[in-house]
């Protein structure tokens, strides 16, 4: 199985567009060309030293779909979800890891999903778990601000690109209110118009990118409720038992900037 692809004297590099579809196409091309890339690079990245071969992957929907269909035959929906989660980690090297995982899936007659003695299999699971954790945290710590027009706005900036994964929760729970969730780090978001969430991008110098609705945009009682929430938060603290380290572990600092209870107002 190994020698079908490997050629020890050559380092193959594929360049692709850094999309999930593109990654599936890279795998497709690897099978067609009988060359499995040791490294994947994005559009702008320089070619690594000692590269023998560089192949430019063209992202085609049909090719991506064929690979995905093939995966569907071998992997249950939970595992496919895990792959998507690992992809959204945007972690360095997670794309080559996923490529190896999918290749093993196709090349091994038996299922590999439980073979945690294989470090790739364990690694994918671990990354996916980290992403799932971040998704949970996003859901925990989103704070909507009510706007003057009755819609709700919340800025987010998660460690991994988990906003799309959390939409199910928000459309279910907040089905009867219009809302905008915006990733201020990745500069995109979703607007829910009472029917479905639509992907949106705001203008670069717009008023929402700061994260907080300005006085003229927010509802008349918005500050009142933020203050009440903050008061509540302080009142329920048991001061005899302060434990800042545990506090930060459970609610990491990077989320504080959008939490009303962690703001100090004048």
């Amino acid at each position: 199985m190994m020698n079908r692809f490997s050629n020890p004297t050559q380092t193959a590099v594929f360049r692709y567009d850094k999309t999930f579809e593109g990654l599936l196409c890279a795998l497709f091309d690897a099978y067609v060309r009988h060359t499995f890339p040791e490294q994947l690079i994005g559009p702008e990245e320089p070619i690594p030293l000692f590269t023998q071969q560089i192949h430019e992957v063209l992202t085609r929907t049909e090719a991506a779909e064929r690979v995905w269909k093939g995966l569907k035959r071998k992997l249950g929906s939970n595992v496919r979800r895990m792959l998507v989660f690992a992809w959204l980690s945007e972690e360095e090297g997670s794309d080559t890891l996923l490529l190896r995982y999918m290749r093993k899936t196709f090349d091994t007659p038996a299922s590999i999903i439980g073979v945690f003695t294989d470090s790739d299999v364990l690694q994918v699971k671990k990354i996916a778990q980290k992403v799932a954790k971040e998704k949970e945290r996003l859901i925990q710590f989103v704070r909507f601000q009510k706007a003057g027009d009755g819609s709700y706005f919340a800025p987010v900036s998660p460690l991994y690109n988990v906003l799309p994964l959390s939409l199910g929760y928000f459309t279910d729970r907040f089905a009867d209110q219009r809302w905008l969730l915006y990733d201020t780090k990745r500069r995109y978001g979703y607007y829910y118009d009472l029917k479905q969430p639509l992907e949106v991008t705001l203008e670069e110098d717009g008023p929402l990118l700061e994260g907080w609705l300005s006085d003229d945009l927010c509802a008349a009682d918005e500050h009142l409720f933020q203050e009440r929430w903050k008061s509540y938060f302080q009142a329920v603290t048991i001061r005899e038992r302060l434990h800042p380290q545990l506090h930060r572990q459970l609610m990491p600092r990077r989320f504080w900037k959008y939490l009303p209870e962690k703001q100090s107002y004048q």
Binding site: K146, D172, L224, F225, R228, V236, R241, H247
Partner: protein
């Protein structure tokens, strides 16, 4: 401008905060058209207090006026403190507004006793009804039943609430009567069984009729105060395990006594070490998820939990004859008993060993805390210096790390090393 609602909120949150339960788990309900919100199977913590507790529900009292005089409670009538009462409309508005901003999963409502138990209970039920029937609020609702409330009112509360609870507070009745003269165990156990009955009847009805009304689908919970009176851990845990035999009983909470009314001579002046509360939760966890019985954790010889080591390790050290556990052959239940192995890694092990022999380095990668586990398991390449070769006393010495010895008992953080 002064916000009087905010002031009430502060007073009544202060008064409610010593009630530890906050879990909003146990009910999954999808959004329905024309309603606000949903309930998420696993309770979501939307914030964490600076003492590290989960904020999931708006935990609040309807009023902190009370005609009773329970020694351990800040709201007792003889205390001189700021008192306030919400109107039903105020409380409903706060709940809905907080909920719509994703601050909370729902409401956890309790109350001091005003006039008499049923009068108070009736007002709690009115808040719940207003939320459900007028606001069509579909979020989580936890009502604390008033001791001595009637069956009719408990039944009504169960129609609206996801969870009902009534706190036992003190494990031994003689102690309860001494500290809370207006209460006895019967006034608590009676509403508890009304809840059990309602829960079981509704489950039964719903098996026949899918749309039969629900009754507190997330069951009931209760709380015991630890360290206000002389109960041993054995007395507490035995009572918990009896309570858990009721199918509706989902959680027992343990709340370390905090000396708020230190002028009262019936109470100890010191609070018990936080470690004790923590160990009780670990023991409770072992009973619910690890298949331990209460008499395996504490018994006549060891009526109290060891504060230096967790109860699972403590059990293992008392039972060297059960080790080493062969990681590649032993049953899941036995693997789970190895200190340093949690539910997640135990599951990984039994899955992975179907394909390959599991080695020590794989165990490490699967999240097993080898520093602990090494003395209790057997896998191919591990040196045979286990609990039986070394003897339990030495293993214990090695596992109480210097760092841990230095750590003050109020700084314990981990629930379980491997959870």
């Amino acid at each position: 401008m002064k916000d009087s609602l905010r002031e009430k909120l502060e007073i009544l949150a202060e008064s409610a905060k010593y009630d530890v339960s906050c879990a909003s788990s146990g009910t999954t309900r999808k959004h329905k058209n024309g309603q606000i919100g949903s309930a998420h199977g696993w309770g979501i913590c939307h914030s964490f207090t600076e003492d590290g507790r989960c904020v999931s529900l708006l935990k609040i009292m309807l009023t902190n006026y009370c005609i009773y005089d329970c020694a351990y409670c800040i709201n007792r009538r003889s205390n001189d403190l700021r008192r306030a009462t919400f109107t039903i409309a105020e409380l409903v508005e706060l709940t809905v507004e907080f909920y719509r901003r994703n601050y909370i999963e729902g409401l956890f409502l309790s109350s001091g006793v005003i006039r008499n138990p049923d009068y108070t209970m009736e007002r709690l039920v009115r808040v719940a009804r207003q939320l459900r029937e007028v606001e069509h609020f579909n979020g989580y609702l936890h009502l604390k039943s008033i001791p001595g409330a009637s069956r009719e009112l408990v039944a009504k509360a169960g129609r609206y609430a996801d969870r009902l609870s009534i706190n036992l507070e003190i494990a031994k009745e003689e102690n309860l009567k001494r500290l809370a003269p207006e209460k006895d165990h019967a006034s608590i156990f009676r509403p508890m069984s009304y809840i059990s009955q309602g829960f079981l009847e509704s489950a039964e009805d719903r098996r026949r009729l899918r749309h039969a009304p629900r009754f507190a689908p997330a069951g009931q919970s209760t709380q015991m105060i630890v360290g206000a009176s002389d109960e041993t851990d054995r007395e507490i845990l035995t009572l918990s395990s009896t309570l858990y035999t009721r199918p509706s009983m989902k959680r027992v909470y343990y709340s370390g006594y905090i000396p708020i009314n230190d002028y009262d001579r019936r109470l100890p002046t010191q609070q018990p070490p936080l470690a004790r509360e923590h160990r009780l939760y670990q023991a409770d966890w072992l009973m619910r998820f690890y298949g331990f019985r209460s008499n395996e954790i504490v018994d006549e010889r060891y009526p109290n939990l060891d504060l230096e080591i967790d109860p699972k390790l403590s059990w293992a050290l008392r039972h060297p004859e059960c080790f080493p556990v062969d990681i590649n052959r032993a049953d899941y239940e036995l693997i789970l008993r190895v200190p340093g192995i949690g539910v997640k890694s135990a599951q990984l092990i039994v899955t992975a060993r179907r394909y390959h022999r599991v080695t020590a380095s794989m165990l490490r990668k699967m999240g097993v805390v080898m520093k602990r586990a090494q003395y209790f398991l057997q896998c191919l390449e591990l040196p045979a210096l286990g609990i039986n070769e070394l003897n339990p006393r030495i293993v214990r010495q090695r596992l109480i790390t210097p760092a841990q010895r230095r750590q003050s008992p109020n700084q314990l953080t981990l629930v379980f090393p491997n959870e």
